[in-house]
């Protein structure tokens, strides 16, 4: 247990993202006030108009790095933070905006903005760990509320956060879902996706779409083979991997291999 005579100071930072990860924190209605009693919420723009100065004991970082200014800012955040934990798919894997990696970002800007020359942006959307050392990465788009609390609680207790890297299937079975792949023939990314959500999609008769990113030992080749048998086409396979964790290495490869093995068909 870290011995500190004052409450640990928490900071929440935002980079390119949808805000959902920090909102996950505000969504802990039952725990918010007890957490606030244990830590000093020293920097959290979304929730407070009294940002306190650094250094911070724990920084939660949401969002990916997409602009030159943010590149500078994340280095600052690292400097003023004892522990830096990234939260969510954007911060840990570049997020959906990393789809720009597969396109020409100038052209993207031109599609969205009348005057793309005003828009300062990098070619790629990169995770925080690509720029500064990260102490822990919490997955999910958005992260799971309980897991976020566990990360904070584990930090306070000095334990390794209980955030297992195994497949969604483990939670799916513990929850008592019947497998949608086996029972309904619905393609599911659960076997190659990291647990954490509590197997939500299968609980709603939907195949997992991978929003927690790749699990510890994903075997996409075998899964893709089976999902093709279930009727998925090459473009569908490519799209399902290339969404929320498009540039996470195993999913990037899964999409590429689907493309390669799909060549010649259709």
């Amino acid at each position: 247990m870290p011995v500190v005579d004052r409450a640990p100071r928490l900071a929440v930072w935002k980079f390119a993202s949808c805000d959902g990860c920090q909102l996950t924190f505000l969504d802990c209605e039952d725990e918010l006030l007890s957490v606030a009693a244990r830590v000093e919420i020293a920097y959290f723009l979304e929730a407070s108009s009294a940002p306190g100065p650094g250094p911070y004991d724990l920084s939660l970082v949401e969002g990916s790095i997409t602009t030159p200014e943010d590149l500078e800012r994340i280095r600052h955040v690292r400097r003023v933070s004892k522990r830096l934990v990234t939260i969510g798919a954007c911060a840990t894997a570049g997020g959906i905006q990393a789809l720009r990696d597969f396109a020409d970002v100038r052209e993207f800007a031109a599609v969205v903005y009348a005057r793309p020359d005003y828009i300062a942006t990098l070619d790629r959307s990169t995770p925080i760990a690509a720029h500064v050392p990260v102490d822990f990465e919490l997955r999910g788009c958005p992260p799971d509320r309980r897991q976020l609390l566990e990360v904070i609680s584990a930090f306070l207790a000095g334990r390794r956060p209980v955030v297992p890297a195994h497949s969604v299937c483990v939670e799916c079975k513990a929850r008592g879902n019947a497998c949608v792949m086996v029972a309904h023939g619905t393609p599911c990314l659960g076997p190659v996706t990291q647990a954490g959500c509590g197997a939500l999609c299968p609980a709603f008769n939907r195949g997992c779409y991978g929003c927690f990113g790749p699990m510890e030992s994903p075997n996409h080749a075998s899964l893709n083979h089976w999902m093709r048998d279930l009727g998925m086409s090459t473009p569908e396979l490519v799209r399902i991997y290339r969404t929320y964790h498009a540039t996470a290495e195993p999913f990037r490869r899964a999409a590429e291999e689907a493309e390669e093995s799909g060549e010649g068909e259709e």
Binding site: L156, V162, K173, R175, G176, V182, H184, P191, P218, S222
Partner: protein, 356 residues
């Protein structure tokens, strides 16, 4: 007590409920036959059957008035004997307090011979060793087992090979055999508890024809096993640690853990720690784990079984071979769940057959 015949399940369900049991039986939910609490026998999956193959499960109609014309459901009794998550104890200050989670009275209606065999395996694991588990015992004691003798084995069943079925011979409170024309159930009792329940039901003694018909159901089921395993010499075959077969199946295996999760005997767990924000109470929770995860075998920063092949080999070898060394019995009861519910259809019987 001699076997009897009942015409309907309603009085049985009502009697069990009146004795304070939550009756849990097979119902159709989301196109799968699942075990769920029922208020009356109407909820049961009457008329339904299932088609099970490696990695594929489909519900089908056409069982008419029959209530139990299907094989194993994805749920086994494990959910009740060994719940997926349990709090072990809480520690506050210097005080350690066991979480005596109450064991609710549950009557499992429709467990099969393989499930009973699996419960016997779990009894051996949790009660038969040097450190018996009192919480398991409590749960076990409040579980009432109403077995059903299988009439229609599934495409992935192989209880005959594992000598665990299709007929329930022991370990039940009541065992039913469903007969057609006229629709009725032959009921055998396996415990005093069972006898007391049967005494309250409208029934008649089973006739010789009833008993013959009941035996015929099991004989017929035994002849229609979907799969087969050669158990002769199985331990020797599984000592082929370096067979190229492991790499082949490892290439298919997703290490998703589904097989171990649905397996009615897989008992492996891990422990999670938690602390409360309000008063710092520490809690330990035991939950299902699987030898297919990397954390399972991690020492010194690396898993002992890092490859898919290594993990698959652990599973198959443990189930069919080393279990015998550890517990004096096979870890596999032939229910076929791991075959049906493997998302990519890996078939243990095929893997075993392909070993040297």
């Amino acid at each position: 007590m001699d076997a009897i015949v009942i015409e309907s399940l309603d009085p049985l369900v009502a009697e069990l409920r009146s004795r304070g049991y939550a009756v849990v039986g097979p119902v159709v939910r989301e196109r799968v036959i699942r075990f769920e609490e029922i208020a009356s026998a109407d909820r049961l999956a009457r008329g339904w059957t299932d088609v099970q193959e490696p990695g594929r499960y489909r519900l089908a109609e056409g069982a008419g008035e029959m209530v139990f014309s299907f094989a194993a459901s994805p749920d086994s009794a494990k959910r009740y004997t060994q719940p997926p998550r349990q709090t072990l104890f809480r520690m506050r200050g210097e005080q350690i307090e066991e979480a005596e989670e109450e064991a609710p009275r549950v009557a499992l209606l429709g467990v099969r011979a393989c499930d009973l065999a699996a419960i016997a395996v779990q009894d051996r694991v949790f009660l038969g060793g040097r450190h018996p588990d009192p919480a398991y015992l409590r749960r076990r004691q409040s579980l009432l087992l109403v077995a059903v003798n299988c009439a229609v084995p599934g495409g992935t069943c192989f209880c005959v090979s594992m000598h665990t079925g299709p007929r329930a011979t022991t370990g039940f409170d009541l065992a039913l055999t469903e007969l057609a024309a006229p629709h009725r159930f032959v009921v055998e009792t396996g415990s005093e508890r069972g006898e007391r329940i049967v005494a309250e039901l409208p029934h008649r003694p089973a006739s010789a024809e009833d008993l013959a018909a009941s035996a015929e159901v099991s004989r017929d089921a035994a002849e229609h096993m979907g799969r087969h395993v050669e158990t002769e010499g199985i331990q020797e075959r599984l000592s082929a640690h370096d067979s190229p077969r492991w790499a082949q199946v490892g290439a298919r295996c997703l290490t998703c853990t589904n097989c171990t999760m649905v397996c009615p005997t897989c008992f492996c767990t891990t422990v999670e720690d938690a602390t409360s924000f309000t008063d710092g109470t520490a809690e330990r929770i035991e939950r299902w784990d699987s030898c297919f995860t990397l954390d399972f075998s991690e020492v010194n920063g690396a898993p002992v079984r890092g490859s898919n092949a290594g993990r698959y080999r652990q599973w198959l070898t443990h189930k069919f071979s080393t279990w015998i060394d550890q517990f004096g019995m096979s870890g596999c009861v032939g229910c076929g769940r791991c075959i049906t519910w493997c998302p990519v259809g890996i078939d243990v019987t095929e893997e075993l057959a392909n070993l040297p």
